[in-house]
Assembly symmetry: C2
């Protein structure tokens, strides 16, 4: 008997789960169900459509639905939405958006890869065609069309996370005047402590982005139905002809909520290290789950591309295996991300000092600036903010900002965090040196040395 | 009673030892003795003087002898050479090159930081003024003068190590036609396996460097005393007006040999993890020592800049401390190095597959090519050759070649090698991703995945 494996959700982790399930069980009937039109595209590359550096949205596609179905010998249903899981009978209610019909579908194994969706605050919901969010390729196409149709003079981006910053930069590159509405201490706040937030804000200002330390409280729509202004909590009115809401995302877990799959504090599915949910026969992966992180063993939501891919592979393998062979296990995650804004790369790994302190952890940090290469070669400044546990010197997190290539250094710290490495371990890395590619003392080495001193000083008190 | 600490040898590890000794014992009398004119300069930046990208040799200096003496409150003797150690009386015979006199100097603690010197094969020794080696700032100045005095049409570089390749590129950038004489399998052979050696050779050829798979057997000098040609083992005669001999270096340990300090297979001082030699009261550091490496626990010669600095600090600390406080310990070294040749960065960490096999280790490797960034962003090819132990999957070494920024990735592998990390650990690193700064799957991630498959396949046989 062929087993039926149903994967709900396209883009990153769903297709990874399908591919791995197919490799694990060549005979299974595998069905990928996606609510929208697209599966398997480069979501992080969508801002390119907004900046104008890329015209054709098709270039973001890795597979068409038909191509994917063909390549992996699976069934792909687009414009289909799973609206209800019946766990006792292992059946799904699937709504077909094209025909507006509802069908039942049987599954033996179910993988939820429903991702996360943009949070749109109630006060910013609007019927105007000039307010957007950016989560799917469909969203990107809609914004791209709006930008093509009429000249935008001034855009307001609400929110200072990765998506907001990417869009700020994309619109700026297109020549649009952009304001970003973000309380000062909340810009990339999941990743950056105050000194690095300041650096990022200075970079934006230097490039003529209007940074407003304020929150959006509402929208003003003109009599013709077009957007007139974004209103702020401080009582300001920012006249604009386009707004993008990027105030965060949340796991899309309504399906699981209905059948009482266990969730974490962020409303993501709780999974074990095999990506299995609390419900037998149901796995979950990608941006809709919460799982253990490496440093403190906390359960967190880590919506990251590589995490989506890796967790999808593990879910696909374990869902498809039939009791033979080793189950796949995923290690705890380190939250690491970076972005490029023109000549600046900025990113982070692990915990911020501020978030670790809020958890009640005693940490010490050092902030340094050093060259990216020899003083006699072309070089830029690299800023490092390194955080370690006071008592043990164990690495807790690192933030870095600098010229092109800088963010590669984060991977070194991530590798050490994974193995429980200390500041001494970072100091002891045999960094490569040649005048044109690194300074004699790498910025990470300088940061480690500075933090060693700070740790010693903190122990003397 | 003030203790007397004598450090023999300037440049990298000697000054680091002096600085740390001063921090450890503010009262000691500390003397740095250097045979040449210079202490504390950027040795790896010397090729810039040859390429013409830097005119003034003074810019390589970090400290003048007087400035260093002043800054650290120590004595600096340049043009002085320690010619004999009397261990029983703790005295040194010191020759003053300026006055041709010999004086005795007492020491309580002695630190040998005599470095390594270029090996000049007997057959290539010559009285012609057109044959050079490059080891000291003095050497660099001599070559710079020679290049300024007359037009060089064709230079031959003998040897394919780091120094040879740096000089090839520097002379090429100056517009000189350059041949490199290096047996095919010996180019950067301490660092590269055959696939990466091929890549390096192709890069050189592509940039009009004449690569000759041959060895130098002698020199032909014209009746006017100038260099006429380099003769090869294959019987060829390469007409040229300048030759640089870069056939390797060896630890300068004559001083220790005279008093029977224990040496390793490369004739470097054997030291413990506190950088102490076999002789009580004598430490050694930098390029004149051999010490344990991380992967297999072999004793190796690792003449690297950062290693010189770090080992100098440890030697300085331990020599200066008086029984109080913790002695400094240095962990085993990972040999990692890289160089930039125009648009190519190439480097390595750990062991080559070939060297590991010669040691009798069972290893498996994978060679991959992947993008440095998203396919929709500017990117270059990154080539990775990853080596792991067959039985355990433990990382043994990595070689990498690609565009600017590529070699930073070596530090990730080095960090993992230090902690005994496996290929799975490399696969599990949470690599940062953003289209412009990295591809969704980092080249190291792709290499790890490929090597996981190769390891699995090798275990099935």
């Amino acid at each position: 008997m062929k087993q039926i494996i149903v994967v709900v959700g396209g883009v990153a982790s769903g297709p990874a789960a399908v591919a791995e399930a197919r490799r694990t069980d060549p005979d299974a009937r595998i069905v990928l169900i996606e609510k929208g039109d697209d599966i398997s595209y480069g979501a992080c590359e969508m801002p390119m459509l907004l900046s104008g550096s890329l015209e054709n949205p098709e270039r973001l596609r890795r597979f068409t639905p038909a191509g994917f179905a063909d390549h992996f010998n699976v069934e792909v249903l687009i414009r289909h939405e799973v609206v209800r899981i019946h766990t006792e009978t292992r059946k799904l209610d699937v709504a077909n958006a094209s025909t507006s019909t509802l069908v039942k579908m049987r599954y033996d194994k179910l993988i939820l890869a429903t991702g996360a969706s943009a949070i749109i605050p109630e006060s910013l919901r609007s019927a105007t065609p000039d307010v957007f969010s950016l989560r799917s390729l469909e969203d990107a196409r809609t914004i791209q069309d709006a930008l093509a149709k009429r000249t935008i003079h001034h855009a307001v981006v609400i929110g200072g996370g990765y998506v907001g910053l990417d869009v700020v930069w994309a619109l700026k590159e297109r020549g649009i005047r952009v304001s970003i509405l973000v309380p000062k201490d909340s810009i990339l706040k999941e990743g950056l402590d105050e000194p690095m937030q300041e650096r990022l804000l200075a970079h934006l200002r230097h490039h003529q982005v209007a940074v407003r330390d304020d929150r959006a409280s509402g929208l003003e729509v003109a009599p013709d139905g077009r957007l007139a202004a974004v209103l702020t909590e401080a009582g300001e009115k920012i006249g604009c002809d386009l707004a993008l809401i990027a105030t965060g995302t949340q796991p899309q877990t309504q399906l699981g909520l209905d059948v009482r799959i266990k969730m974490g504090a962020s409303q993501g599915y709780l999974v074990d290290d095999g990506m299995q949910t609390s419900e037998k026969g149901i796995w979950a992966c990608g941006d809709c789950v919460e799982r253990e992180e490496t440093v403190f063993g906390e359960i967190i939501h880590a919506p990251l591309s590589l995490n989506a891919f890796r967790s999808g592979r593990v879910a696909g393998r374990n869902a498809a295996r039939k009791g033979t062979g080793r189950p796949a296990r995923i290690p705890a995650v380190v939250k690491a991300a970076a972005l490029a804004l023109g000549s600046l790369e900025i990113g982070h790994t692990g915990w911020t000092e501020s978030a670790a302190s809020k958890l009640g952890k005693q940490v010490v940090s050092a902030t340094i600036k050093h060259r990216s290469a020899s003083s006699l070669s072309p070089h830029s400044d690299v800023h490092v903010h390194l955080v370690a546990e006071s008592a043990t010197g164990r690495l807790v997190g690192c933030q870095i900002a600098g010229g092109l290539g800088t963010s590669q250094r984060l991977n070194v710290v991530t590798a050490l965090i994974r193995s429980g490495g200390t500041v001494d371990d970072l100091y002891n890395v045999d960094f490569v040196y040649a005048p044109r590619l690194a300074p004699a003392h790498d910025p990470l080495f300088v940061a480690a040395r500075t933090l060693q001193k700070a740790l010693n000083a903190s122990r003397k008190h």
